[in-house]
């Protein structure tokens, strides 16, 4: 039986292997060193012991300073991996991310670049309420100069994180909190999954589901149920949200002529809107139905379990959206 590993273990392994491979790879963030517990969910456990507290640095709770330190060091040859504990805390570091990390390459006419990776976790489902579990990927995808990446399995987490760390641009790497301890196939050490390439997880002929992150799981469940009802679904995992792999999406939708975009983020102004629009621009005359979008309801993430569950997309909701394209 193949070896299994959860996300926490896979990400830890990616960080360790990246640090081993390149001495310029540094880690910084709140509580990341072993003395502070090796990260709030132990993602960086053992790394300061192995690589020293010069390279694995616990920081004050100061997201703007964390981001600035990563950016500054990256300008002169380092490859810092900054952990922003939760995606909602990215809001505190927005000036450094949006005005500086994303733009320094362009504004300097290519003289400098910012090879940083920002690791951040998020995702609703655990009752953390309105300020700890938002999916804000569209904000960053909307800024020229950023790459936005999210894995859908532990092995992908390994390969995509290695790619982000090796990449010469600022990469936002989004980890899903509720599925951290879900096991999958163990990554093969040294495997780097290229950025900007989507993965066709399941081939099908009737409709294309385009998704990423945790919603890959929900989409696959929906696809299985639909298969039992004779609907053949193609499922695409974007892996890289920005810049997204338009070629793979368009090739698939040209074949199926129907598309549904699924994400955990709220629907308005989301990644789904961008992808739906792109499909419509390119394939309007070939589409058999309008492109559908599935996302969380447009409100803050609620606390009460019954409300939180109603807020999030479900396989049933995805099936319903698929059926709309089939009518």
């Amino acid at each position: 039986m193949a070896k299994k590993m959860n996300y926490v273990q896979a990400i830890n392994m990616a960080l360790a292997d990246a640090m081993e491979a390149d001495e310029n790879v540094l880690l910084l963030g709140e509580d990341v060193a072993d003395e502070e517990g090796g990260g709030v969910v132990k993602v960086s456990q053992g790394l300061s012991a192995k690589f020293g507290t010069n390279r694995v640095k616990s920081t004050p709770i100061a997201e703007e300073a964390i981001m600035g330190a990563a950016i500054g060091a990256s300008l002169v040859g380092k490859r810092p991996v900054a952990e922003i504990m939760l995606m909602n805390f990215m809001t505190v570091a927005m000036d450094q991310v949006v005005n500086h990390a994303a733009k320094l390459r362009y504004m300097s006419g290519g003289q400098t670049n910012v090879p940083i990776t920002i690791r951040t976790m998020t995702g609703a489902g655990g009752g953390a309420g309105g300020q700890h579990t938002d999916m804000l990927e569209a904000w960053f995808a909307h800024v020229a100069g950023m790459k936005v990446v999210t894995p859908s399995s532990p092995a992908e987490a390994y390969g995509l994180l290695r790619a982000c760390i090796e990449d010469d641009d600022p990469c936002l790497f989004i980890e899903n909190m509720p599925t951290y301890w879900t096991k999958g196939e163990a990554p093969v050490p040294g495997t780097v999954i290229p950025l900007g390439k989507a993965n066709v997880i399941k081939e099908g002929n009737d409709v294309t589901l385009i998704t990423y992150g945790r919603m890959v799981m929900e989409s696959m469940q929906a696809a299985e149920i639909l298969a039992e009802n004779g609907v053949s679904v193609e499922v695409i995992d974007l892996r890289t949200i920005a810049p997204f792999d338009a070629e793979t999406i368009l090739n698939s939708v040209a074949k199926t002529q129907r598309a549904v975009v699924v994400h955990e983020a709220v629907r308005p102004f989301g990644v789904g809107a961008e992808i739906a629009s792109r499909i419509t621009e390119e394939l309007f005359s070939q589409l058999k139905a309008p492109v559908q979008r599935v996302g969380s309801s447009f409100n803050a993430v609620p606390y009460a379990q019954v409300l939180e569950a109603a807020h999030l997309p479900t396989p049933d909701g995805i099936i319903e959206a698929v059926k709309k394209t089939l009518d």
Binding site: N54, P60, G68, A70, G72, S108, G109, T112
Partner: protein
Amino acid sequence: MTDSTPSPSDLLDIYTRAYRIRRNDEEFHAAMMSGKLGIRIYYSPRGQEIIPAALCNHLTDADYMVTIYRGVHDQIAKGIPLKALWAEYAGRIDGTCKGKGGPMHVTHPETGNMVTTGIVGGSMPIANGLAWASQIDGNDRVTVATFGDGASNIGAFHESLNMASLWKLPVIFLCQNNLIAEHTRYEKGTAVDSIADRAASYNMPGIKVDGNDPVAMWEAAKEAVDRARRGEGPTLIEAMTFRFMGHLIGDPDEHWGEGEKEAALAKDPVPALREQLLSKGLADEAQLTEIEAAVNKEIEEAIAFAEQSPLPDLAELNTDVLAEG
């Protein structure tokens, strides 16, 4: 003369840098007013020349500077080549940033001009990162973050000084206190009498100095640079100065009391240093005239260079966004 006070050649060097800043400012200002070269925005540093001129006497190209939109004096003092600077202001392809950054984002890593930010407070967090890299590499490079008095009220100041002190980073926080933040006077925006006092909150030395006094400024900068090079950590310098030209070009700058601005203008630090060099016999008229002529020639050549430099090709619009283009 001990090495804790500037030598005559140090003072002459400070004058040369300050004169270069002042003359460039006059020419930038004139170009803005006439529309020549199509310069679209300019923040004058007049009145603040001595601060970076004295600081940079202690620095080399290997040391890093992170400055702000009103930072052309810092860049010139740090040795940025004038031709590329002028071409950048004119939005030409031979500019430091191919015309894509402009006056608020001038960058020139070869001279240590690493980042120029248009965001108040944005310089300090990045300076920490540059200093952190130097610390890891074990070299003796110093990083200077310059900013104004207004930036000391933004959260990034607090986060950055705290982290720099905790990590003993080789960084200098150089606050150029020109007594006004955009259009709000110091005392209406800042709750403490002295920004240098804030250093106590971060367990680092805070030095308040007359930034327009070349000797005092040189000495303060030396203390901070030496401390950073020895690996003893950061220093906050509050260099007192005065902004001569308002926030924006054409700004009526009517925020001062009766005679307040006139008194500051009367103490223009660049001619004052010239006077001092002559009266103390540290330089003679012929020497200074020669320095000034060389600077003026350099500026003339820089302007001519910018004028003949082509506009960026439209293909530049979408390059340098990501590594792939």
